[in-house]
């Protein structure tokens, strides 16, 4: 930075407009003037860098909240109703209407859950006579995992980091979630042919906190792994299957196969559209031959 009153005045002016510049509120010549000054003045450039770093840390902290899947389903229903009832005049749009719609929405959602979640499993059990406990509706964690999988595959939920390295993804989560994410790399350690690829990761909202989302792909079929702490979500509902000391809960949600379970303080949901109960998706963590007796009980018998 040069000395002299004129230069100082210039710096003062520039600094007074840095926030506007960083907020993209300046255009044309004003932007060019500031950029030119920053390229020459170390002092102002330092202030700019500090302010940019601060704003980036704030901006990267979002989103602060993510709409729960149940709410999203209700809103989809409201918008769908509005579409189909577009020719009905004088539609109310007040709070009491919202309340009625909400209650109605729950009934529809419950009916949908019955149809989508329970009925297929009941039919399943009649057909295959499994040894599992009675089925119930999917847990909110399973619903969130299925919803996240769908939105991610539709491109509505882009990955926040893309990597094929389990180590990189594990490290990426280290400062972002309050539990440890450690992804195994069976393909690398076993030297086996790559049957799946790791795509990347992102955070997803659950219970007012973040859960870890990891995206895989087996051929052209996506597989999602969602992880949270056992204190935030306990697996429940669906068809219970015991295997190797763990209890898995299987649900079919919107045509997706969702397996949830808890192990050593963490709760997992594995989502795919693979065959049967989607147990083939377990390959992302259990590919070795010794794991086959782990996966086998998950197959329908």
């Amino acid at each position: 930075m040069g000395g002299g009153t004129a230069t100082f005045k210039n710096c003062e002016d520039i600094r007074g407009r840095l926030t506007l510049y960083l907020d993209d509120e300046l255009q044309g010549e004003e932007r060019v003037t500031i950029e030119a000054h920053l390229s020459e003045c170390e002092s102002c450039a330092s202030i700019f860098a500090r302010e940019l770093s601060f704003l980036n840390s704030v901006r990267e902290s979002g989103p602060l909240s993510v709409a729960p899947p149940e709410l999203r389903a209700r809103i989809e229903e409201i918008l769908s109703e509005k579409r189909t009832a577009a020719r009905v005049p004088a539609t109310e749009a007040n709070r009491s209407t919202a309340g009625r719609r909400r209650r109605f929405g729950w009934l529809v959602a419950a009916a949908a859950a019955l149809l989508i979640g329970i009925l297929p499993v009941v039919v399943w059990r009649l057909a295959h006579r499994t040894t599992t406990s009675p089925t119930t509706r999917p847990s909110s964690f399973a619903l969130m995992a299925a919803d996240t999988h769908l939105r991610q595959t539709r491109g509505q939920l882009p990955l926040e980091m893309e990597s094929a390295s389990p180590q990189d993804i594990s490290a990426w989560f280290s400062n972002k979630v309050n539990f440890r994410v450690k992804l195994p790399n069976y393909q690398e350690s076993s030297g086996q042919e790559k049957l799946y690829t790791l795509q990347g990761a992102r955070l997803v909202g659950f219970q007012n906190d973040y859960a870890a989302y990891v995206a895989y792909r087996m051929g052209d079929r996506p597989i999602s792994l969602v992880i949270t702490s056992e204190s935030a979500a306990k697996p429940s509902g669906g068809e219970e299957i015991a295997a190797r000391g763990l209890v898995f809960h299987y649900n079919a949600i919107d045509g997706l196969k969702v397996l949830t379970w808890s192990d050593r303080g963490l709760t997992y949901a594995l989502v795919s559209d693979l065959d049967e109960r989607g147990q083939g998706s377990c390959i992302v963590c259990h590919e070795g031959a010794k794991d086959q007796d782990f996966i086998e009980p998950l197959k329908p018998h």
Partner: protein
């Protein structure tokens, strides 16, 4: 906006903003149930008015609807919006007096930034969310808040100043890194 009301385009476009709207509703209400109700009411109102012309900025329009719906609720409760005095005394956080290493590690976490934002006074939190989380321009924020753009600028400056103080441990981290 007229085109948004046709052929389900409105529904599809409006649904893309549900996370942002829920985040803003949480900012306004600080309560998950109230936030869900507010999001739902916003969509009901928006869907009812989707065919009316004059809504070029769908996201901004949805935020305006949400804020008005919330203000109506608050007025109905007869308690008035709960904005605190913007010049009120500083909060209890004094990061500089804590163990620098602990503060350094803690502030590495994104979660801490979110918590700092959550701890801001209502009006400051709201404007940080609108500008820095949702990316609205000053003019768009002025429309949502029904205030002059100059007020947006000054309030945003004070809000960031307060947030910077809350996160002042980051300066300690920078110094540690530089050593």
């Amino acid at each position: 906006m007229d085109s948004l009301g046709r052929n389900g385009i409105f529904g599809q476009a409006a649904l893309e903003h549900i996370d942002s709207l829920y985040g803003y509703a949480m900012t306004l209400t600080r309560d998950t149930t109230e936030a869900e109700d507010l999001v739902q009411e916003t969509y009901v109102r928006a869907a009812g008015a989707a065919n009316r012309p004059g809504h070029d900025n769908l996201k901004g329009w949805l935020f305006v609807i949400m804020r008005n719906a919330w203000l109506n609720q608050v007025r109905h409760k007869n308690s008035g919006p709960h904005f605190v005095d913007l010049d009120a005394k500083e909060g209890p956080i004094d990061a500089a007096q804590e163990n620098p290493h602990v503060v350094y590690l803690r502030n590495l976490e994104r979660k801490e930034v979110r918590e700092a934002i959550e701890s801001l006074p209502d009006a400051y939190r709201e404007i940080i969310v609108l500008r820095d989380i949702e990316g609205f321009t000053y003019q768009e924020i002025a429309t949502v808040l029904e205030c002059p753009a100059g007020t947006v600028m000054s309030r945003l400056g004070r809000a960031r100043g307060k947030l910077r103080k809350l996160l002042s441990g980051q300066q300690t981290r920078t110094r540690i890194r530089a050593v």
